[in-house]
């Protein structure tokens, strides 16, 4: 097999004294869909944000498409153009219409002319099923629609890799399906994807691999059948049982090894 699309080597990340990532090694092959699961505070969002350097790793290396992002001399803006990122809070630009959200980055960053940017925007809006919202402002859209626009905005840049940071966690339950459908379509088209999610059904059906993180390390890494269907580690079993049937969970003592309860993520 050729070189992996995403390669993470011995990644460490600390926020002050709080070590959120404690040595992560991970590879994602071209066209592979990897879901990262784990309890809140396990460092999964931080890992994803390190992959496009929104967080600067304390130690370790990150490669995307063969380019080392952690090299201080790398043109980070050029590398980020190849990496799409979808956020939990959508982060659409509220002062721009849906179409402008899609065209402005193409024109400013990729220097596409107006007509071409508009064409690419229209194509991608159609892919996510929101052509009729082209002239709307983000505030007038539902959360699910906003997230699909955010995905279309990333796709308009023609990324090789897509990162999803809990893309459905801020959505009302009935709106989750539309967003997952778009992600499933992307997976079927062969997009390389790394998805931090709590949607176990999506992970089981769409992911090629599932990675379970806890306490800043990867505890388990394998096919969905292995990790979700037949987990080898007690921590994975424990997490999955609480996630799949939260009503049955017992009250627990807080344990001291739960690092970074807030995910160490300043955005929260």
């Amino acid at each position: 097999m050729s070189r992996p699309e995403i390669e993470v080597r011995d990644l460490h990340k600390s926020f002050g004294d709080n070590e959120v990532l404690r040595g992560i090694d991970l590879e994602v092959g071209t066209g592979e869909v990897v879901c990262v699961i784990g309890p809140s505070g396990s460092g999964k969002s931080t890992l994803l944000r390190c992959v496009n350097l929104l967080e600067e790793p304390t130690k370790g290396q990150v490669f995307v498409g063969g380019t080392e992002l952690t090299d201080p001399d790398v043109d980070i803006d050029a590398v980020r153009r190849r990496i799409g990122m979808v956020f939990q809070q959508f982060n659409l630009f509220p002062h721009l219409t849906v179409t402008e959200n899609l065209t402005l980055p193409q024109r400013r960053v990729l220097r596409r002319d107006k007509a071409e940017a508009a064409k690419v925007a229209a194509q991608n809006l159609e892919r996510v099923g929101l052509s009729e919202k082209a002239d709307a402002y983000p505030a007038s859209l539902s959360g699910g629609q906003q997230q699909r626009v955010a995905i279309a905005r990333s796709l308009s840049m023609g990324p090789e890799v897509m990162l999803f940071d809990e893309p459905t966690s801020a959505l009302d339950p009935e709106l989750v399906g539309d967003v997952l459908a778009v992600m499933r379509m992307l997976a079927n088209e062969g997009m390389t994807m790394m998805v931090v999610t709590h949607e176990m059904t999506f992970a089981r059906e769409v992911a090629d691999r599932v990675v379970f993180m806890d306490g800043g390390v990867i505890v388990e890494d394998g096919t969905p059948e292995q990790v979700i269907g037949n987990p080898a580690h007690e921590r994975t079993r424990h997490f999955l049982s609480r996630l799949l049937d939260p009503a049955m969970a017992d009250v627990e003592e807080e344990t001291s090894d739960q690092v970074g309860k807030d995910e160490g993520n300043p955005a929260h």
């Binding site: 496009n52 929104l54 803006d77 050029a78 980020r80 153009r81 990496i83 799409g84 990122m85 956020f87 809070q89 982060n91 659409l92 630009f93 509220p94 002062h95 402005l104 980055p105 400013r108 960053v109 990729l110 505030a139 955010a150 905005r153 990333s154 840049m157 300043p266 955005a267």
Partner: protein
């Protein structure tokens, strides 16, 4: 008998709520009417009329009070505001810079120019600058000096307003822009600052109203006849005619601009409030 008991009971506690409200409102009206009567009785209406309401004198002021004085006031204000906005933007960005000395410099500037009376800045620009740099002229003569002085003062306030506006834009906006490949500077210009400006338009309009009034300080720079603005114009005419009517007219001209502007600010604030919801 039981029914009278019910009526009697509240009296023991003193006034009812309704009675208290009536009493409080009654007292306020009495105080207001007393104040108006006292003012009307003590004012010398004849002199007041002579001093402030000479219609002939007021008529004489037109059209110069508009075409010259008000025009100059607006010109001074707008040029000062424009210069202050540019400088304020630069200082706000310096204040947010990762480079320490920029932050300190911007902080010192803001503290100094917010702490000094505007009048002192005018004297400084009018007297000290020409002395300190002999031979150099501030371009634009008086207009340039006023723009400089007003701009220096307003930049300090506007810098703080703009900085707060930039910081009020959610962090996710910058992250989204960076993840799309925008450089930090380009993301600032294309994404963050346009949103920050929408946040700071109401307070900046307020600043414009303050500047409009501060432009009267130009009279301490020494101006030619053609450069006079409302206050200087009204005062000069008041002293030559020994009558205060010109001052009243000049004051009304200020209100002609500031009242509608204040209305616009309130509308913008209400709109911004709605956008947050």
């Amino acid at each position: 008998m039981t029914s009278t008991d019910i009526h009697v009971q509240p009296k023991k506690k003193g006034l009812t709520r309704r009675q208290k409200r009536r009493l409080s409102r009654g007292v306020q009206y009495v105080v207001f009417v007393a104040a108006v009567i006292a003012f009307a009785a003590t004012a010398d209406w004849g002199t007041l009329h002579n001093q402030f309401a000479q219609v002939d004198l007021a008529k004489q002021m037109f059209p110069d009070v508009i075409t010259l004085a008000l025009k100059n006031t607006v010109l001074y204000t707008v040029s000062g505001f424009a210069f202050g906005l540019v400088l304020g933007m630069v200082i706000a960005l310096m204040r947010l810079s990762p480079v320490g000395p920029y932050r300190w410099l911007a902080g010192i500037y803001i503290e100094i120019f917010r702490g000094l009376p505007a009048l002192l800045i005018f004297v400084f620009v009018g007297v000290a600058v020409p002395l300190a740099f002999p031979g150099t002229e501030i371009p634009g003569g008086t207009y340039g000096k006023v723009a400089l002085a007003l701009g220096l003062v307003s930049a300090a306030y506007m810098a703080e307003t703009i900085r707060a506006g930039i910081q009020a834009v959610p962090k996710g906006q910058m992250e989204a822009a960076r993840s799309l490949g925008f450089s930090h500077a380009r993301a600032m210009v294309s994404i963050v600052i346009p949103q920050a400006f929408r946040i700071v338009i109401p307070p900046l309009t307020n600043e414009l109203v303050l500047l409009f009034k501060d432009s009267s300080l130009v009279l301490f720079l020494g101006v030619t006849l053609e450069e006079r603005e409302l206050t200087k114009f009204g005062r000069d005419l008041a002293s030559t005619t020994a009558n205060s009517t010109p001052i009243l007219v000049a004051g009304l001209c200020y209100l002609l601009v500031t009242v509608p502007l204040g209305f616009v600010v309130r509308r913008l604030e209400a709109k911004a409030q709605e956008a947050v919801k």
